[in-house]
């Protein structure tokens, strides 16, 4: 079969790109353990309080080790429940020092929601019956808005919160 010189060049270029990207996917999946944020672990969406992480008193931020935090959140139409402060008001701001490792654990009681900390890599789909997790190192100082990025109903835009990363 006769192939033009240019055809040989772009075929090699295309196949090399394919191999490169497949190797990157393999590396991410098998060496780095990257997986969908909601996988394997399921939960009863009618009774999320039965799970230890989503009991009302365990919601919000908790320091588990030096520089390591866990944030538990229950999403519902149309609110993110980060727990209550000592005065009984709903918490809307999570504060962490720069460079801390934060594990976000979130589930939903009703429909599919999104959980995105805009300006960071934290971006998950939250599906009823599943627990979504994402661990991130908060390496940039600033105020990051939490938004729901899966249309969940009439009050979709009212789902918000803030992550504040300080020096």
């Amino acid at each position: 079969m006769h192939l033009h010189k240019y055809e040989k060049i772009w075929l090699v270029f295309g196949m090399a790109s394919l191999v490169l990207f497949l190797l990157i996917i393999g590396f991410a999946a098998f060496w780095k353990g990257t997986h969908p944020q909601s996988h394997i672990e399921t939960i009863d969406p009618q009774n999320v309080e039965a799970h230890d992480a989503f009991k009302p008193e365990n919601l919000g931020i908790r320091e588990v080790a030096d520089g390591k935090y866990i944030v538990n959140i229950v999403a519902s139409a149309f609110n993110y429940d980060f727990g209550k402060d000592t005065e009984g008001n709903a918490i809307k701001t999570i504060r962490v020092p720069k460079g801390s490792t934060v594990l976000y654990q979130i589930t939903t009681k009703d429909v599919v929601h999104g959980f995105q900390v805009a300006g960071t890599n934290v971006n998950m789909m939250v599906e009823p019956g599943h627990i979504s997790r994402y661990e991130a190192v908060m390496k940039n100082v600033g105020e990051f808005t939490i938004v729901c990025n899966e249309y969940c109903g009439i009050g979709h835009h009212q789902m918000y919160g803030t992550v504040e990363v300080y020096e």
């Binding site: 033009h4 240019y6 890599n121």
Partner: protein, 48 residues
């Protein structure tokens, strides 16, 4: 017979004049765009 042979040996005018230079440049530009944008998004992922 003789006439048929001469017809067969005439070079196809489309093959000899067809240049793939423009196609080559277009394919390479698209490839470079894909690679540059991929590494751009990866850099964004690492910096955040």
């Amino acid at each position: 017979m003789g006439k048929r042979n001469t017809v067969q040996h005439q070079p196809n005018p489309h093959e000899s004049t067809h240049s793939l230079k423009g196609t080559f440049i277009a394919v390479m530009l698209l490839g470079v765009f894909i690679l540059v944008s991929w590494f751009g998004f990866y850099a964004l992922f690492l910096s955040r």
